[in-house]
């Protein structure tokens, strides 16, 4: 093989590597859109624009903590997690349980006295605290339906839409 061909192939390999390894460092973007629908009952799935938010955040650790291998954002977290290996998955649902107060999970937490993160939120709490928290600080959308539309079940639950109470409120009462 000629020298020129080798150089072209080398560049191609590097470009391919960069293209197919989304988890390497901060330069890679991750999925463009993620549908967050594992908890959908009252509201539909959230069509999450991951690419946009990755750009806005700058540092992946803003949302993914240290799970991508870099140092966490907060200093306090870095005390333990400064040089962590990347986690098996950076998806929120891999660490934050869907059923936060389920007896089995609570027993696991209680049965591990060395566990530091006993107050880890469940998946629903993690989503909302992370998303809403940042939106409130940065001026993003904060209404419920700004991110996910209400399902029919949701309308029944919140007594709204076609399940809304009769117009005239009753007089009196205590």
């Amino acid at each position: 093989m000629g020298g020129r061909t080798r150089r072209v192939m080398g560049v191609a390999v590097v470009v391919a590597a960069l293209g197919v390894s989304p988890h390497i460092g901060r330069a890679a973007g991750g999925p463009a859109m993620v549908e967050l629908g594992s908890l959908s009952t009252l509201f539909g799935a959230v069509p999450f624009d991951h690419a946009k938010h990755a750009g806005l955040a700058g540092d992946c650790a803003e949302c993914h903590h240290h799970t991508l291998g870099g140092a966490p954002v907060k200093e306090n977290c870095a005390r333990c997690h400064k040089a962590n290996q990347p986690a098996k998955s950076a998806a929120c649902r891999e660490c934050h349980p869907a059923e936060r107060f389920e007896a089995g999970y609570m027993a696991t937490v209680a049965g591990n006295p060395q566990l530091y993160h006993t107050g880890k939120p469940g998946l629903k709490g993690a989503y909302h605290q992370k998303c809403l928290g940042c939106h409130q600080a940065m001026g993003g959308p904060t209404g419920c339906e700004d991110c996910h539309s209400m399902t029919e079940k949701g309308e029944a639950f919140y007594r709204t839409g076609k399940y809304a109470p009769a117009a005239a409120p009753k007089k009196g009462g205590h």
Partner: protein, 308 residues
Amino acid sequence: MKKIDRRNFLKGGLAGSAAIAVTGTAATAKGAGTFGGYPNSMGVLVDLTKCVGCRTCEAACNKEQGLPEPEKPFNDTSVFDEIKHGQKRRTSEKAYTVVNRYEVEGREGGPVFRKIQCNHCQEPACLTSCFVNAYTKTPEGAVVYNPKVCVGCRTCMVACPFYIPAYSYSSAINPVVKKCIMCYDTRLKFGRPPACVEACPQEVMVFGKRTDLIKLGHQRIKENPGKYVDHLYGENEVGGTSWMYLSDVPFDKVGFDTHLGNEPIISYVKEFLTVVPMVLTIWPALFTGFHLLSNRKEALTKEEETKG
């Protein structure tokens, strides 16, 4: 002049004392010491810094407890502007929990939202004031109510320092007290968290063992220096409650009564309750003594009269 005939006195005294004996022994209070709570009782830690006032908890409670249709939809935030008798919203016969909004000057994150519901006290005032034993402090931590024995005296409503119990005044046939029971019948009994806790999107509330939650609350305060007010409301108030609160603004600014003290309400009544057995034991002898003394005087006067 009536002679003290031992037989007659005993007859009368026995009749009276028999009735009193039943009531007397019944009214003694357990003496010193407070009830520290059942060892494994559950509780809920409410972090006010996380609540955004979405009212999902209210909707969840309504559904779980089969409460009637509300006046406004649960996602209607205009309820936060409702003022009645100069007061914000409170629990009612149709709503076991409500959320209120508090505008706090200088707070960067906007208004504070507070969820109100029965605090499931360790030594509940409602329970200690009920003369038909309608309330029970369950080992799981919930304070539950038995509508089958309630007479409707409403002393529990007078006693509750948090103004929680509501009464179904609208019913003529079966008016009963209405309040949060921590979803005991449908969830807590089976080890599951109350509906409001599970429904909350922001995970404002953490469900767990009360003793663990106290540790968690203080840990959060410690790990976020300057964020929270260094006080876990409900840890000690009125003897301790199962529902405890963390806040980043002073508690009295968001509707909490900070003058309740750490004594359970029953402590204020114990002074009288200890008088009861004293009266029951001292009065008979004391007043019989008075009678003997006054009779003696009369007897002496009579003797002199007959002599003379």
